[in-house]
C-alpha cells in the first residue's frame, strides 16, 4: 500500500489501474472450447464433464484461492444444486433448465450461508473437519431420504425439457449440453472475474494474507467471509444443477468426498487464487485421467499420481505458477525488483 495518488505514472500505480483490463490471452480458453466443439463431436460427453468441473473449480477458487477458506466439503454445494434440480424434475414440480439452475443456486447459497454462518467461526483444521462433516451428513441424508432422493441408486432419467423450448438434450451426442454449459460457465466466470478485481475481492485477498491486519483496519472480516462462502456455494450449486441437467440424473456421487477431493486436487494442480488455475488444472487432470484410463484401464492412476507428485515437489504454485516463474526469468530485469514472494504476516 505504498502507492500515493499523485504519482499516476509510478509502475505500481499503473499496474493497479490496469489490473482488471482484459489481456489478449484471456480469450484463448473460449476459442479452444469452441474449437473443441467443432473438431471433436464424438468427445462432447467428456467435454461437458470437463467444463462443469472447471465451473466447480472456479467456485472453489473464490473461497480457497481468494479468501483462503480451506474446505474439504465443497461437494456439499455441488450436491445441493444437483439434488435441487433432480428432486424438482423427478417429482414433476419444476423442470425448466434455466430457472432450475437459478433455484439450484439459491438452495446451494442457502446451505452455504447457514453452514458458513456457524462454521466460519472456526479456522484451520477445525474448519476443514467441519466442512467434511457437513458434506458427509448431507450425503447420508440423501442416502436415507430414499423416497425423495432415490437413495444409493439416485434419481434416474430426469425429464429435462429442451433449452429455450428449442434445443433438445441428446444423451448420445450432447451438443446442446456442451454449449449450454459453456455459456453458463462464461457468465459465471465473468462474474467471478469482476468480483476478484473489485474492492470486495481485494478485501478477500487481504483477509487471506493477513486476517489480523484486516481486523485492525476495520474491515468486517467475518461478514466478508460468509458472503464469499455463500457466493462460492451458489456457483458450486449452479455447477451441480447443470450437471444434473446435462446428465439427466443425480445420485450420491455428486455429494461424495471423491468429488470434493478431485476438485481440490484440480485447483492445486492448476494454481489457486489465479482465476485461470481452474481451467489449466481441470484440463490437465481430466484429459490425462481420461486418456490414460482409455489406454491403461487398470493402471492409469499411476501416471496421474506421478504428475501430482512432481507438481507438489517442484511447483508449489501449480502449473500456472511454473508459467509465472518462466515469464519472470524471460523478462528483462531493468526495473528495481519488487519482492517476488508475498509479504509474510
Amino acid at each position: 500500500m505504498s502507492v500515493t495518488p499523485h504519482m499516476p505514472d509510478h509502475p505500481a500505480a499503473l499496474a493497479l489501474a490496469r489490473r482488471h483490463s482484459l489481456r489478449w490471452w484471456e480469450s484463448l480458453p473460449w476459442i479452444a472450447a469452441l474449437a473443441f466443439f467443432f473438431a471433436y463431436p464424438n468427445h462432447l460427453g467428456f467435454g461437458t464433464e470437463l467444463l462443469i468441473m472447471v465451473l466447480f473449480a472456479i467456485s472453489l477458487d473464490l473461497a480457497l484461492g481468494y479468501a483462503g477458506i480451506i474446505t474439504l466439503g465443497h461437494a456439499a454445494f455441488f450436491g445441493a444444486g444437483a439434488y435441487t434440480v433432480g428432486i424438482l424434475a423427478h417429482h414433476g414440480i419444476w423442470n425448466e433448465p434455466l430457472t432450475g439452475l437459478a433455484l439450484a443456486a439459491l438452495v446451494a447459497a442457502a446451505v452455504g450461508f447457514l453452514s458458513g454462518l456457524v462454521l466460519l467461526r472456526t479456522t484451520g483444521l477445525t474448519f476443514l473437519m467441519l466442512t467434511l462433516c457437513t458434506m458427509l451428513m448431507l450425503e447420508e441424508a440423501a442416502n436415507l431420504g430414499h423416497h425423495w432422493t432415490g437413495g444409493f441408486d439416485g434419481l434416474p432419467s430426469l425429464n429435462i425439457p429442451p433449452l429455450f423450448g428449442v434445443f433438445e438434450f441428446n444423451p448420445l451426442i450432447p451438443k446442446t449440453q456442451f454449449l449450454y454449459v459453456l455459456g453458463v460457465l462464461f457468465l459465471c466466470f465473468l462474474f467471478v472475474r469482476m468480483l476478484a478485481y473489485s474492492p470486495f475481492g481485494q478485501g478477500l485477498t487481504g483477509i487471506r494474507e493477513n486476517t489480523l491486519r484486516m481486523h485492525a483496519v476495520g474491515a468486517p472480516v467475518r461478514t466478508r467471509l460468509v458472503v464469499c462462502y455463500t457466493i462460492s456455494a451458489a456457483i458450486a450449486g449452479i455447477a451441480g444443477g447443470i450437471w444434473a441437467q446435462a446428465n439427466a440424473y443425480v445420485n450420491l456421487g455428486t455429494l461424495g468426498l471423491d468429488r470434493a477431493a478431485t476438485v481440490l486436487i484440480i485447483l492445486v494442480l492448476g494454481g489457486f487464487g489465479r482465476l485461470y488455475g481452474a481451467f489449466v488444472g481441470a484440463v490437465a487432470y481430466m484429459v490425462l485421467a481420461h486418456f490414460l484410463s482409455k489406454i491403461y484401464p487398470t493402471a492409469w492412476q499411476l501416471g496421474l499420481g506421478l504428475l501430482l507428485v512432481v507438481i507438489a515437489l517442484f511447483a508449489r504454485g501449480g502449473m500456472l505458477g511454473i508459467g509465472e516463474v518462466l515469464m519472470q526469468r524471460l523478462r528483462p530485469k531493468i526495473p528495481p525488483k519488487e519482492p517476488a514472494s508475498r509479504p509474510s504476516p
Binding site: 450437471w243 446428465n247 471423491d258 484401464p297 492409469w300
Partner: protein, 398 residues
Amino acid sequence: MLKRILAASAALAVSTALAGAQEVKVGVVLPYTGIGAEFAQLIDRGMEMYLKLNADKVKPYQIKLIKRDAKNPGGNDARVATQELLTQEKVDVLAGWVYSPNAIASAPVVNAGKKFAVIMNAGTAHITQMSGYYARTSFSMWHAGYAMGEAAAKQLKAKTAVVGYTDFPPGKDSLNAFKRAFEASGGKVIDEIPMGGAGAVPDFTPFFQRAKDKKPDVFFVFVPAGDHAAAVTRTYGALGMRQAGIRLIGPGDITQDTKLQAMGDAAIGLITMHHYHADLPNAENKRFVAEWKKAYGANAVPDFMAVGGYDGMALIMHVAHQLKGKIDGDAAIKAAGTFKFNSPRGPISIDPDTRDIVMNEYLSEVVKGPDGRLMQKVIGQIDNVKDACKAQKIAPCK
C-alpha cells in the same frame, strides 16, 4: 511390378474387409480401479475364459474387447465411457456394469445408441426395465432372496426370522424378497435391522446382539460381496449365536468363493441360497474351475461374478451367430430371448419378456472338505427361477 503391388494391395483390402465383417466389437464398462477392481478382474477373466474354452463356438467371429474404466459407483464415468464406446469406437455390443447406479446412469445412453447391452453383475431388480436393450446374465437380488425365503420356511422349518441388511438398494431388495416369500410360506419376520451403508465395513456386534435377543429360528443377512462377509461370520461366531440355536442364512454374497477360505471355521454351518458357487458338482463347472486354476494359479477360484462374465460372453456369441455377425440392437434383443446355455451354474436361459436370466438356485451349506478346506455342499435346488420382482409385478418392477 506395379501390377503385383496393386494385386497384393487388392488382396489385402479384400482380406481386411473379410476380417472386418467377422469382427465383433464388444465395449466393456467395468470398474478396473478403486474398490471394484477385484470384481472387474473376475468378470474380465470370466469373459476371456469363455473365449478360450469355447474357441470352436466363437468361430468364425473375432471378438475384440474394448475396455473402459467405470472408476466408481458415481455413474458419470460409466456414462461417458458408454457414450464414447458407442460414438467413437462404434461397438456392436456393450457389456459389463458392476455397480447398479452405473447401469442406471447409462440406461438413457444405451437407449439412444440402440445397441445390445449385457449386464454382467449389477443386481438391482428393476434395471432391466430402464432400457429395452439391456439383458442380464448375472442375477437380480430377488432370485436368491425370494428362493431363500421359501426354503427357510419349507426346508429349514423356520417359524421366525430376523433380517439384517446393509442399508442400500440391493439390501432392501433382498429384505423385501426374503420377507415376502418367507411370510407367504407361513413364517414371520420379527425384526428388520439396517446395518450401515455399503461404503465401509461396520462393527456388526450391536446389530447381531439385537438379533440374538429376539431369539429367531434363522437370522437372514444380506451384505455386499467382499470384505463385509468375513466380518459377518466372525461376529456370528464371537457372539455364540449358533450355540443359541440361531442359524445364519443369506444369499451367496456372504459366502463369495474368493473370500470363503479367509472366513475360517466360523463359517461352517452357514446356509446360503445362490445361483453359483465354485463347488457345484456339475461337469461343466468342474471343467470351468479346473481351467480357471490352470490359468490363474492353484489358489485362484472363480465366483458368481466370474460366471456372470462367462455367461454374458456366451450370450453375446449366441446373438452373433443368430444374426450372422450383424448385431442390430432390436434384432439382438429378440435373438437373446432364444438363448439357452449349459453354464457352470447349470442350465440357463433369458426370459424373452423381461430380458432377465432364468436359472437354478442352490441351497448350500458350508462344510469342511476332505482336504481340510472349506467348501459348499448343495443340500437343495430350485429349478428355473425367474426374477420374482418382475414375475409378480412388485414395485418398482411394474
